[in-house]
Symmetry: C2
Subunit: 126 residues, 2 copies
DNA sequence: CTAGGTGCTAGACCGTGGTCTAGGTCAACG
DNA sequence: CGTTGACCTAGACCACGGTCTAGCACCTAG
């Protein structure tokens, strides 16, 4: 599968795909054809799809790279992979808490402004 | 209240506080004492606390700045404030969805690795 | 008197995560 | 044959959100 195809399927740009490769995010070597063009496997696309999820939940490239490295190294380091994943689990839970806190704030403000606009209330909700 | 005190209370650095002011994030003018030092009100701290929440939920400085501007301009633009807030509401909901998607992935992987480690199963979960 | 702590401004610097460009190779189309 | 389009590398460039420095002023304590 060509880089363009993978870009379409993952939503990443070809630039980003090359960057990710340079940064070592890919578990599994990227093969090349005779002309030096990258060839991706179905499995690479799955992995990259996971990378996209990690990224969109705030995992830094360096961390994904570390995970990829562990996977590349093969069995024997499962404990470390687990630790890394659990670290990110915590991180996500913190983010969820912050998002909920902000959502509460906004919901209140939105409700206040809606009342304000509907009733023509006086006094600035803010 | 001095900038140092506000830094302590909001968790922002004094550098960040000055940056925020330059970027127009503060609704309400920051007064200065005779010697030119910033004086913050209790209300500024509340506002900044909200800014911190907005930031930690991914609202860009530019957007907070816009909101602050609307608030500074006084009543009459409530509809636009509401629109801005609802935009961010949507944004937060998207983030929540992404976080949950990643959390699902991680939970599965964590469970897989725990089984793997406990049972000494063969085959790499990844 | 002096040292330490706090504050000021202006502006340099930084990490992160990309994006874009230059300059080149190749294959297919018309 | 020329052009178009996909790909390659190396490296420049960018936005964002800060952080830090230089150089200065002031106050307080020792």
């Amino acid at each position: 599968m060509s880089i363009g195809e993978v870009a379409r399927r993952t939503g990443l740009s070809v630039h980003a795909l090359r960057l990710y490769e340079r940064e070592g995010l890919l578990a599994g070597e990227v093969r090349r054809d005779e002309k030096g063009r990258r060839l991706y496997s179905e499995w690479d696309v799955e992995w990259l799809t996971n990378c996209v999820k990690f990224r969109s939940s705030g995992m830094p490239l360096a961390t994904i790279s570390r995970l990829a490295q562990l996977v590349r190294e093969g069995t024997g380091n499962e404990a470390e992979r687990l630790e890394l994943l659990r670290g990110h689990q915590l991180h996500i839970e913190e983010q969820l808490a912050k998002l909920h806190a902000c959502l509460d704030l906004i919901n209140n403000k939105v409700a206040a402004y809606q009342r304000h606009l509907a009733v023509g209330a006086s006094g600035d909700p803010w």
